[in-house]
Amino acid sequence: MDRWFLIAATLLAAAGGIWGMISVHHGKRSPWTLAWMFGVFLCQIGFLGVRGQLRAACPLMDHGEILTFLAWSLTLFYLLIGPAYRISLLGVFTAPLVVLFQALALTPGTLTANPARLVGSNPWHETHSATSVLAYGALALAAVAGVMFLVLDRQLKEQHLKSGLFRNLPPVRELLISLERLLWLGSGLLTVGISAGLLMPRTAAAWGHLIAAMAVWFAYALLLGIKQVRGVTGRRLSLSAVILFLLSLAVFAFI
């Protein structure tokens, strides 16, 4: 049952992404992106709900669950931010990443077939897992906004202004504002996640994961500090958001 929810979410995200891209190619903005992504969100909740019941805990025990939780978090932040800032195109850019995460989760061996019921879970551990993955959702969406900025910046610089994509991309300043806010949100959640991680009982092997997470946190804090104090160009901020997110995924290798 859980897998069917995940398959449905992946298919909906793929369809929404393709539909959105076709619309953009024709110079229009699809009004349905939000609806597609809301459908994805509901299916993800279905998946996480079933897995949560089986685990009797927050379903973040294997790589498949972590990837799906990450995709859910990414979708959640898109649904919160996309309509508020009228950046429906963010959904078109978010959908492929959601498809990628969920397709990886569906790869044989990634998702435990018969998840074991967790006995005696620790609240700090659950707080650490949940807020960290939520943070990654926000940081992933920041990376998506960064990619959108880089595309728009290139088009403006090279004066390629005829494509449907150019017409539908949000303004430079709005993208940069959204990107910065998402970085602050992601870093804030990561701070909570790491603090909870320091308070939870852990094995010696968990230190590698925690140190990697702290390195990620420090890198994002440094980026935001530089942005705040000295300022940074939109291109460098966007590139940093994309590169840092890709590098930060390495944290999961230590789980």
Binding site: L161, K162, P171, G231, V232, T233, G234
Partner: protein
């Protein structure tokens, strides 16, 4: 009852003729009633803009009405009968087609412009309130408005900016979104920079700074635009705070160099900066455009973008006319 249209526009009559037939916005309803009396018709609407004056009537005999209105209008306005050569006459379906073309912006000087839609609507509203419309013109005008909307939404007849000023404004909005938080500096108080800056102000630009070699001229333009005049030697200082720079000096060489912008970057915290260089020879060294957060557009690029938009609109005309014909065929309007 037949629908007829008698009119003159920018293509058929020079401005000295058009101005004789122009009717003020507040007098459109009264003029419609006078028109009914002149043409011995039952319904009438008068449309008057800077580029056209058109009389729409519901009359029993189109041919007789045309002759009657032309003769009596010439008498009333005191022009000789040669003015008839400037009029176009359209009856029944041709008149309805023409109205739809006008409403859709296909008959405008700037194809696809949106202002005409509101102007025709206002003319019809005035006639309606003056009681000069009836079953024929009410239906024809209401259908023309819905066809006009359909044409504008289903084609790209109004897409893209068709003047240098509007292209610059569209680009500024693509970079900064709403311009209400954007500050603009004008270098050189020429006509082109004034027009472009006015376009930015009309879209909400927060404040304007004007720097000109002649400070008096800078003050004059700044007062006109509710902005601030700046000594020409101080423009680099103002660069630290503005988002858009419009440059149009008559200098024979570049006046904005890469170094000038590099010096301001830190103070600007590397925020995006949009240069609109409409001067020939160019005022802004092309090397300025290589700076990461700078978007530099010169007059050739802006002109080319405007020309492309105009061409795209021209190519849409046929599709728009097809929509108009199809819709009119479906409707079976009275008087056509």
């Amino acid at each position: 009852m037949e629908l007829i249209c008698l009119g003159l526009n920018h293509r058929t009559a020079p401005v000295e003729v058009r101005e004789r037939f122009a009717v003020g916005t507040t007098l459109l309803g009264k003029a419609a009633n006078e028109l009914i009396a002149l043409a011995e018709a039952t319904e009438g609407v008068v449309i008057s803009t800077c580029n056209r004056t058109e009389f729409y009537l519901a009359a029993t005999d189109a041919e007789a009405s045309f002759g009657l209105i032309e003769k009596r209008l010439a008498e009333k306005i005191q022009v000789d009968s040669s003015v008839s050569a400037h009029f176009y006459r359209k009856a029944k379906t041709a008149a309805a087609q023409h109205l739809c073309r006008v409403v859709s912006g296909l008959d405008s000087m700037m194809i696809g412009e949106t202002e005409i839609f509101g102007q025709v609507k206002q003319a019809y509203q005035s006639a309606l309130e003056a009681g000069s419309t009836g079953a024929v013109l009410n239906r024809v005008f209401q259908r023309a408005f819905s066809i006009g909307k359909k044409v504008r939404t289903e084609t790209s007849i109004q897409e893209g900016a068709t003047s240098v000023g509007n292209v610059a404004v569209d680009l500024a909005e693509k970079i900064f979104g709403h311009l209400k938080n954007s500050e603009v500096m004008i270098l050189g108080a020429g006509e082109m920079s004034r027009t472009t800056a006015q376009s930015l102000v009309s879209r909400g630009a927060k404040s304007i700074f004007v720097a000109n070699r002649s400070f008096d001229r800078a003050e004059e333009l700044a007062t006109e635009m509710n902005g601030t005049a700046v000594r020409f030697d101080d423009w680099q200082k103002v660069l630290q705070r503005v988002d858009v720079v419009i440059s149009s000096t008559g200098a024979p060489h570049a006046i904005v160099h890469r170094q000038d912008v590099e010096q301001a970057r830190r103070a600007r915290k590397y925020r995006p900066l949009f240069f609109i260089d409409i001067a020939v020879p160019r005022d802004v060294d092309p090397a300025v455009g290589e700076i990461e957060e700078v978007y530099l557009y010169d007059i050739d690029t802006l002109e080319q973008l405007a020309e492309e938009a105009r061409t795209r609109r021209q190519l849409q005309i046929e599709q728009c006319e097809r929509i108009i014909d199809l819709e009119l065929e479906k409707l079976n309007l009275p008087g056509t």
